[in-house]
Symmetry: C2
Amino acid sequence: MHRRRCAAARHHRHSESEMETTDSEPETMRCISCQEDYDAGDAGTCKECYEEANETEEELKREIDDLKAKVAFLRFWSPPDSPLHAPRFLPPSFSDVVLVASGDSSSSDHHAVPIPAHKAVLVSRSPVFRAMLENEMEESRSGTIKISDASYEALRAFISYLYTAEACLDEQMACDLLILAEKYQVKHLKTFCERFLVSKLNWDNSIMSYAFAQQHNAKHMLEAALSMITDNMDKLTKREEYLELKTKDPRLVVEIYEAYLSKQVNTAAHKDSSLKT
Amino acid sequence: MHRRRCAAARHHRHSESEMETTDSEPETMRCISCQEDYDAGDAGTCKECYEEANETEEELKREIDDLKAKVAFLRFWSPPDSPLHAPRFLPPSFSDVVLVASGDSSSSDHHAVPIPAHKAVLVSRSPVFRAMLENEMEESRSGTIKISDASYEALRAFISYLYTAEACLDEQMACDLLILAEKYQVKHLKTFCERFLVSKLNWDNSIMSYAFAQQHNAKHMLEAALSMITDNMDKLTKREEYLELKTKDPRLVVEIYEAYLSKQVNTAAHKDSSLKT
């Protein structure tokens, strides 16, 4: 990543002190960091600014270590020998509620297995669980919360995230968890999934991602997908997903065209003002 | 903090571009960060290293923001309108255990007030609570844990820390919490208190701090206090705390002298090797 500009500098004798080099060659200076010589065009910072920046970096690293220790302290049951994606789910001690994935009769044999949890943790992480459990609704009395339209695996990962702020994501799991996060208003998890999905965004999945983001109110993902689509408008109408979307939800297609138009207008205005200056 | 080395640089016209300055004055360069000129003796880094360092700093800051959000997510009940040191203690919902400060009949009227908590949180933060509650001891059956030799205020701050990883410290509170942290093996809190107490260390409190650290197995604080004491040995024997310690726990006094002797030997050896080179 770091290209060396002054190949000639490699020929300097290493035993030469900095001052000697400087005295004989006043037109170049030696970089403290990469140890190569540089000239005025490549000048970065003076020594003091370099040292200050170094101190700042050390401070930031210390802060990161402190915060990591805090996260480890606040996290529940995440023993190093049983990673979160391990098939064995560790039930927490003293649980006072169970969650059951209902409505997932397809993929998994586990779907009826109840997942133990703590009301205190659920209400502290989700305003929806708070309303459900603190207002003595059915779920609070029975001690069982049914989660519809979720697989056992997704629900397990969801509960695990509420305790640990960690999840092993692939694209399917990120979608499943984003849906649960949106439904139970767990903002931190939603952001986590959205970031992951944005990082996986490409032209092939952009139309699906756009529709998904729209449906589940994922603004950041929506913007990213829309931007990718409007950058490739010439190829848009040939795609199968486009035809599907036009049939299923034409409003979403209209919004793509509106975004494209607005982008064109902006680009034109920008070019116009560039020409004038 | 940042002294400017090149006062003359201030006289440069600001409208001058970097390249113009460079062409006319090849022997100095302009620092991108502080915008002052510098010469070879003050050379810091080249432009690429400066840009890399900048990127690194941005990345570290993003990581800090992410970790802070994680901490906020994992923390329990710390609403912004009721800071931790507020007199009103917010009892957590769905608690299944209470803690009572016993043996503190002195300062507070509150000492018999039970503090509600969750077994799941206590066992996740402290191996001592884990052994107590998971092994069906008296405390687990009765749902009441008596904490001896602690004030209500200290116990409240202790429990609050287990939920939030935060505490408002003064020197007294830091000592009280360190004792509880040591007793219940809450390492994170112990480190937190120890750091605070080390930051407050001075010659006047060094002997007391040394004895306290020794008693409660606070190694980092012990070292810091011992180092301060052995740096001021000429004043040591005149201090009242010294005479007290000599009567009460002469072994600790012996350890001071041993540390002093070892320091002298090390210093002599260092001087010796410096002379030889």
